[in-house]
Symmetry: C2
Subunit: 458 residues, 2 copies
């Protein structure tokens, strides 16, 4: 009977710290029996998390001690860099045993990020038929539906009835994992619909399959982008869907668990990109992380230098009125913050297809007005602060005016820049932040120092 995994997780499904402690202890002591016993209590996905969270030396020792008992189901759940590390360390026979137990899409997942020679080694452990089918999947473009689908699925002729379907299924040995629908195909193996198993079971034997096909049916093509596939799964609440080749022939099936992974990865990616972080994970090496973040910091430096060049033009003004130097970060910071708010909403809405041609103008107007309203409100507040602080009405007026202008521009650029990037086929999550900050910094410093110059030096 099934065990509940929550036993070794705390109330919110984090791995129990004491449990991890015991596992590491058994590794330390070289106690193989204890280790196997403890790991058996964990779900393969939790073992993968555990392996990701411990250090590389502990990981190597654990894998070695685990030995023959190694659970192959752990491999598809690991981060790419850890997969590579573990595959490197597994002896050839254990690797070949592990790969034998995986489904086609899992093998693809496993080998697609390996070095070519290591990839060859894994493929060599497969028999000819399996190797051919994995190699076929590997030929589909990266991030395509073809790479995501499994080739194990159940298809039945569309002209069959329920009785024929049930008899066929009951006589068939070995049904695939994640099997919740039968696909209906025409004589050219093109999918024409799918029937949920529940519907199949509760219908009379003489009922035609096509009359109980699901209303929500979508097909994907092998070279379609995984992100779009995952979006359709979410939007139409799909559980599984057929994938077809250029001729429309059924090649495989994508299931919801794969789609959920893609959605999750994509959400992480967007969040990371907005903050100037690439595709990194906690288990990456320090030097790789530092290198990864470098280009974003360079982009930020370029923006900051541009802002400094603007400030430099007003050196004489600042020398005359030092208060300007004291207050100028407030203007730029409020602009940057308001701009980030707009652009984040825009980037997310573009990703979820909520921001489209139909409502772009409405949203642009909205963000501009929001920028103006909050600009006016904060211009009053910040103007007040300036007045109290320096007791100068002129300085306060300059500050207030600069805040309105900057926050209005922040709203406009925060929405326009992601939309324009999207039209230019650049991922708005990737570049919006740098562009918007550049605009708000330059506008902020220019407005504040420029007005300061006009008021105090002319």
């Amino acid at each position: 009977m099934a065990t509940s995994y929550s036993d070794n997780r705390d109330s919110s499904y984090s791995l129990d710290a004491g449990f991890i402690e015991s596992i590491l202890e058994s590794v330390e002591n070289g106690d193989q029996r204890k280790l196997s016993e403890l790991l058996e209590q964990l779900h393969r996905a939790d073992i993968a998390d555990l392996l990701e969270q411990i250090g590389p030396e502990e990981r190597a020792r654990l894998i070695e001690l685990w030995g023959e008992e190694f659970e192959p189901g752990v491999l598809p759940e690991l981060n790419d860099n850890i997969t590579e590390e573990i595959v490197e360390s597994l002896p050839a026979d254990r690797l070949s045993n592990a790969v034998r137990d995986l489904e086609s899409d899992q093998v693809v997942d496993l080998v697609e990020d390996l070095e070519p020679d290591r990839q060859e080694e894994v493929l060599d452990t497969l028999d000819d038929v399996r190797r051919a089918s994995v190699e076929k999947l590997l030929n589909y473009p990266d991030e395509s539906a073809g790479r995501l689908m499994q080739t194990e699925f159940v298809m039945l002729p569309v002209h069959w009835n329920v009785g024929e379907a049930i008899d066929h299924l009951r006589s068939r040995s070995g049904l695939p994992d994640g099997f919740y629908h039968v696909m209906l195909i025409d004589s050219r193996i093109r999918p024409t619909g799918q029937v949920a198993l529940g519907k199949l079971m509760s219908s009379r034997r003489e009922v035609e399959l096509k009359s109980i096909a699901e209303e929500d049916f979508a097909t994907f093509s092998v070279d379609q982008c995984q992100e779009d596939v995952a979006y359709a799964f979410k939007q139409y609440r799909l559980i599984s869907a057929p994938v077809v080749d250029e001729a429309g022939r059924l090649m495989g099936a994508v299931t919801i668990d794969d789609a959920v992974n893609v959605l999750d990865e994509h959400a992480k990616e967007d969040m990371h990109l907005l903050a100037g972080v690439g595709d990194e994970s906690l288990s990456d090496r320090i030097i790789d992380v530092a290198k990864q973040r470098f280009p974003w910091l360079v982009a930020n430096l370029a923006t900051a230098v541009l802002a400094s060049i603007v400030i430099a033009q007003f050196s004489a003004t600042i020398e005359a009125v030092v208060a300007l130097a004291v207050l100028m970060p407030i203007v730029a910071s409020m602009g940057g913050n308001a701009g980030t708010q707009s652009l984040t909403v825009a980037v997310r809405a573009i990703a979820t297809k909520d921001l489209t041609n139909s409502n772009a103008w409405r949203v642009i107007r909205r963000e501009s007005v929001v920028g103006l309203i909050n600009g006016l409100v904060f211009s009053a507040i910040i103007g007040g602060i300036g007045l109290i602080w320096y007791g100068s009405a002129a300085l306060s007026a300059v500050l207030a005016a600069a805040v309105v202008v900057t926050m209005l521009m922040a709203g406009i650029s925060g929405i326009l820049i992601p939309i324009l990037l999207e039209r230019a086929k650049v991922d708005p999550a990737l570049a919006s932040s740098t562009f918007v900050t550049t605009v708000t910094d330059i506008v902020g410093f220019l407005a504040f120092l420029g007005l300061g110059y006009m008021v105090f030096l002319t």
Copy 2:
């Protein structure tokens, strides 16, 4: 037979602009037949998107013209504020028709965000049994598994065999939506496992149900947080799972489509919170959006004023060396950016339970070293820029030193602050950004201007 929805969407599933145009045209012309014809070609989720993307006047006219044909399945797919607007506008009889067609969890979804009197009105349209079951669900806490589950599911005694199960299912009229497993219960109606329909169909009649129960089985309690439920669905690749009350009795079932919605909402929330945006959507009214963003801008203003107070302490230094005012934003900006990188990785990793007690120290060390490495690299670059720009070795040295210190502190605070907030039971996505920026701003200005003071004024 099923239609494919992709027909009226472009290659990446955005609603086709021309198609929306035709719909709005038919609304404009008051052509009810054309409107119904066009809407029939759209999936209910796409109609919901369409309603969200058009303006409020167009929306009201469309709903009115759609009239009797109104598809109730659209309601659960809408954003809360639009649901409210549409429910307000539907005549009582049409509303009652619509609600009759929905499942229990959908009705809950529909009414939970309505004003109390409007909620009462919708509940009044239900018959007594349905009303009691919806009210029971509404009694569970907000964001709990109880609110998420549906009360329609199939349970069978754990001691039955496959034959008994199949006969029961085939004799039963009306099986629930999203039905892919039968739940096994003991004599006290406590779930003890679940059997996938595929497994049921392909097993011999005399096989015991408990011997083919799924390995991956998790139960949730009615008051468990939806986020944790969704996490478990993703982590363990679940399709459906039982929800139990305090006594462990089966009360309902959560299905993967609900879990996907929660995951999606949560990803949006984290992204929004990091950028200082609350739970807003594109269809919110301007004044609501402005109000929502206000508190975050206030927090940012407080940070900016703190930074200004630091700068003010060095007014004399700036007056003497204006170059310091020109260059100081570079230091603060690099620190802010590096800090944002660290904290975003941390917030995301905490949300996905990848950052836990087991690896916190390793990750803190990692972020500190990354901060130091990139700090050293950029100190050289920025020091070089300062030297070329102003030709002063002293200024360049001050700049370089300030950059190292600030970027190191950015790395440390970027990882420590989210971890500490999480321990203090504060959502790290909510507050990390403000705290980290405060640290990097103050450290940046203090280090740069302080060193400047020491080098140039003493």
